[in-house]
Symmetry: C3
Subunit: 438 residues, 3 copies
């Protein structure tokens, strides 16, 4: 049983969930199914499960966004990496991560994980004795779909030049090991949670985590060949903006589960409110990025508009349930502006991030976390700053160590020849678009 977790989570699950951790387990599931509390438990759990499915589809969103924003010759490689991340991510979370991130008791910094499996006959896992909002399995599948997103963020930033085995190992360690640790600091009731740090659905726990892991990896990996030359920055165009657009809209769709499911129940007040703040921030993010890029880059830039949507979504994620509707628009607008400047900035300092992941998830993840301290009177700016820096720094250092170890052992960078011809045909044995015949 996860008493500590239920207690920790109740902090942001709406007051009607309080006392969940005190309910005794009914002796018999059928008796629970006949009780007054069963309908609301059923709907809460269903929403968590549907949210898990929505977060799952974000993995398709990332796969299509990342492949759309990169070159055709590396498309199979990116899609393969995304299949790998979701598949191993969920399995590792089952074998170790879930019980490491939501430990019953721990020192607040690091808990020993373990295999998550439970018994269908154990009513302490299948009823409101576990949590008012979900069963053990509903809890697991929702959190497991979250877990894999961290590595997906990195996948786009290191695209087009990282060695496949190196990335596969990196992703496994990041999702399977690092994410549950820093995640437990907040959502497992650890030291950040105890200090009052607030991160509703993961501007820091998920997005800044992924963004700063990506930054470390990109620094060590270096830019794509030919991107930065003595004559300046050479734009390398994405090979399919329709694919990228599909990706962003699917990510937005998935965010209804990412944020809406983070209510951890179907509470009508909070779920509907979170849907509204999430959407307003996404819309404002697009408008902000369109305006700023049109003014400064002189073009109505589609990829900036798309990144603006994501920036708004990342920005609202930490405070979707505690800031007002109007604040959510401001947060989104600022995030949309930030992302344009950040993308230009990283290009200027020759940090080559093909999809803008560091800017979208890293920088706007920080922004969203700090925004809670600005737009919600109940939260401290200083604590928010501490929390986002702690998580970002942990992710950065962890990723840095892993990528350096991989560099000196199996190598992390493909050969110049391979980078030139593309990873698909050579490494994967198939081009993404076959050979048109007839």
């Amino acid at each position: 049983m996860k008493m500590a977790m239920a207690g920790g989570l109740a902090l942001f699950a709406g007051d009607f969930l309080l006392m969940a951790q005190d309910a005794p387990a009914p002796a018999d599931y059928d008796a629970f199914a006949g009780s007054d509390g069963f309908p609301i438990f059923t709907i809460n759990n269903l929403w968590i499960c549907i949210s898990a499915a929505l977060v799952f589809i974000m993995h398709l969103g990332f796969a299509t966004l990342e492949s759309g924003l990169t070159q055709q010759k590396n498309t199979v490689n990116i899609l393969f990496k995304n299949v790998w991340i979701i598949s191993t991510g969920v399995l590792l979370y089952a074998f170790w991560g879930f019980n490491a991130m939501y430990p019953g008791d721990f020192n607040g910094f690091f808990a020993t994980g373990s295999w998550f499996g439970g018994s269908l006959d154990d009513t302490s896992l299948t009823t409101s004795a576990y949590n008012e909002g979900y069963t053990w399995w509903g809890d697991f599948i929702f959190q497991a779909m979250f877990a894999a997103t961290g590595a997906t963020i990195v996948s786009g930033a290191v695209a087009e030049r990282i060695k496949l085995p190196a990335f596969m190992i990196f992703a496994v360690l990041l999702v399977g090991f690092a994410y549950p640790i820093s995640g437990s600091w907040k959502w497992g009731g650890g030291w950040l949670d105890q200090r009052g740090f607030y991160d509703f659905a993961g501007s820091s726990v998920v997005h800044a985590f992924g963004g700063f892991a990506a930054l470390a990896a990109v620094i060590v990996l270096g830019p794509r060949n030919g991107k930065y030359t003595s004559s300046g920055v050479k734009p390398i165009l994405g090979h399919s903006l329709p694919l990228a657009t599909i990706g962003v809209f699917l990510l937005w769709l998935g965010w209804f589960g990412f944020n809406g499911g983070s209510v951890l129940s179907a509470d009508p007040k909070l779920v509907s409110f979170v849907f509204v703040t999430t959407s307003l921030a996404a819309c404002a993010g697009a408008v902000g990025a369109i305006a700023i890029s049109w003014i400064f880059l002189k073009k109505p830039d589609l990829s900036m508009a798309l990144n603006g949507i994501l920036a708004g979504l990342v920005g609202i994620t930490a405070g979707a349930d505690v800031v007002s509707e109007f604040s959510s628009i401001i947060i989104g607008l600022i995030a949309g502006a930030i992302v344009v400047f950040a993308i230009v900035f990283f290009d200027r300092i020759r940090i080559d991030d093909p999809v803008g992941a560091i800017s979208v998830h890293g920088i706007c993840g920080i922004w969203g976390t700090l925004a809670v301290g600005i737009f919600s009177a109940d939260h401290s700016f200083g604590t928010q700053l501490l929390g986002t820096l702690a998580i970002g720094a942990f992710a950065f250092v962890f990723a840095l160590v892993v990528i350096i170890v991989l560099k000196v052992t199996i190598g992390i960078r493909v050969s110049e020849e391979l980078e030139e011809v593309g990873l698909d045909a050579e490494e994967h044995g198939a081009p993404a678009y076959g050979v048109p015949q007839g």
Copy 2:
């Protein structure tokens, strides 16, 4: 509080919702959460929120359908417009439209809108005191996702030759201003509602509205260069039928929320019935369009089959809850036939609609509205005709005035050179499909 709206909507929300508007607001949300009515309120509200997410994904459906059915060189432009429409559409609905469309009291023709924001502590917004089916925010987000669809319909019809700034202003005025007005005539309890006009989920309020606004815009804008020559009509092929197919299937998926959510509760009888009539009409629309196009155009035409699905969906939208299963098949079949003839007809009179939006949404929107008067004994054909003509005419005249004003001020048509080379590279600074390298 929106008493007038709750009363107006209750007309088509199933009888168990009656009296919603009479419930006193509980003093305390926690007390409501412990009451007998909370589980059903929670599930109703959840379904409205999920429906909002489904209607949201229709915007991706429109984006992919429209870009798939047009030329590669204008793909970025279309995608950009769709990002713009959803983003500004939701924001404008928050700032003005929602309170204009669902006013508490008004003269039946025009209400003054306002910023929609509310307080989470106000139990008259968060409980069944507002509505048995949803909270204030659930109501808003569902209706906001609807609102933006009107401009999206226009987007496809004017594709490949309209100036971007002109379209952006046009879309803002159409979604932000015109749609809430004519929408209030029915769904806000206005003059059409008071006369017994019936439009369950918007064959007229949404689709004929968008279709006739598109017709006005296309008439003023003129056809694409080279489309109609002295030697006849030159077909301009869409650049990606897979993209168009993705679009139509996503639109069908979204329609489960568009129609299913318009029950305005999770009422099991009506939601399941509406799922069935909606799907049967979509299927029959495909079969009707396939049959008619094969007979008259001599080919199993995929784009006609796809438009047949949409025609069936638009056709059933006005009466999905009041016509029988068999009638829904007939309505869909006829819609599928109509759409083929309408597309051919508009091409013959040189109205250039690249995606068939006027036929699908305008003509089949009228058909669906009239079908309620034919296939449901409870509704008058004359009133249905009045309603659909009123809404269509309003949309047409409003759009006509706006597009003419835009034409004589900032201009609405791109240069011949730009139309020839395509809007993407020049206007947006990036081609949709990059440059394949290696």
Copy 3:
């Protein structure tokens, strides 16, 4: 009313559904809506409806997967077939299949179907008197979306060389006639159900059925020209792996409804458990296929990884609610390995299946059905073997007879010339990707 069905289904719908078939119909829907049982009925029915929408999106998944894995020149043809299958599939299920598959009384082998329409005023269809989990229409739409998948499986296997009219007739007979018959053997309470055969969501009833119908069709149809030559097997690459990847992720998403909805209620314990086993098997299937293909084919093969996901999903479908979490991983891993060997095997014996449908659905469908007999102590391996062979053999023989009759009458194979130039331009009058202009 469908008493026999309610009884049959209750076997695998969780114990709290027992006695559903004994509830008397309330005289009045409003009275039911005010009763204690209404909230849980509402949520159960909503989940079945949402599941229907999720299974619907699998049809887009199949359409994109199949077109992605085949050549560009036949893309329109495949998309058209998928539109045809879903459209006629649902209509035929309404006119005949639903009442044939879930008959009130029958001999256990074959029941006479009929038009399914019911009355909204009939409380024996709209309340828990019909079933605790759904209304008549919820039941119909969920099962109708299932029904069409069988023919979709075949669609991919016969791609690129079958005559369109022949396939259209074949699909109609398979979905409209054969599937309800063998489906009734298990889910209609027929002879296999009475012997204790277990197939939770259709490893055999849907997938082995489709896979073995495909095998028969492919044997008669023969391989694509040039695929097998005296010098060996010539790989024919799919034209868009992004499209195929979109397909597989959408299929996984849909499977949450396919398996999750097969709980036939929103029961929190079972729905969440099934979400977990389904996802773990999908993940393990990917890992299994990646490992095996890397070892034996020496490449990290994306299409094998994608088929591994599907293999895991098909494999877990029969037992998702009765095997442990760990068993679901083993089942998925083995399915992922099987599918690689099966694809290679069928290629070696010159059975040309462009998308691997026979391996994924046929072979892994058998595996999943047998796995219930291995990993669940409550089920007999022998009975599972009998059931899967009976259904597979029925599908094979039915398809064989139909395809042979079609061959000797209207012909099933396009001309060599047409196969060479592709089906799209000639047969459908439009290429999939238009002509890039500018």
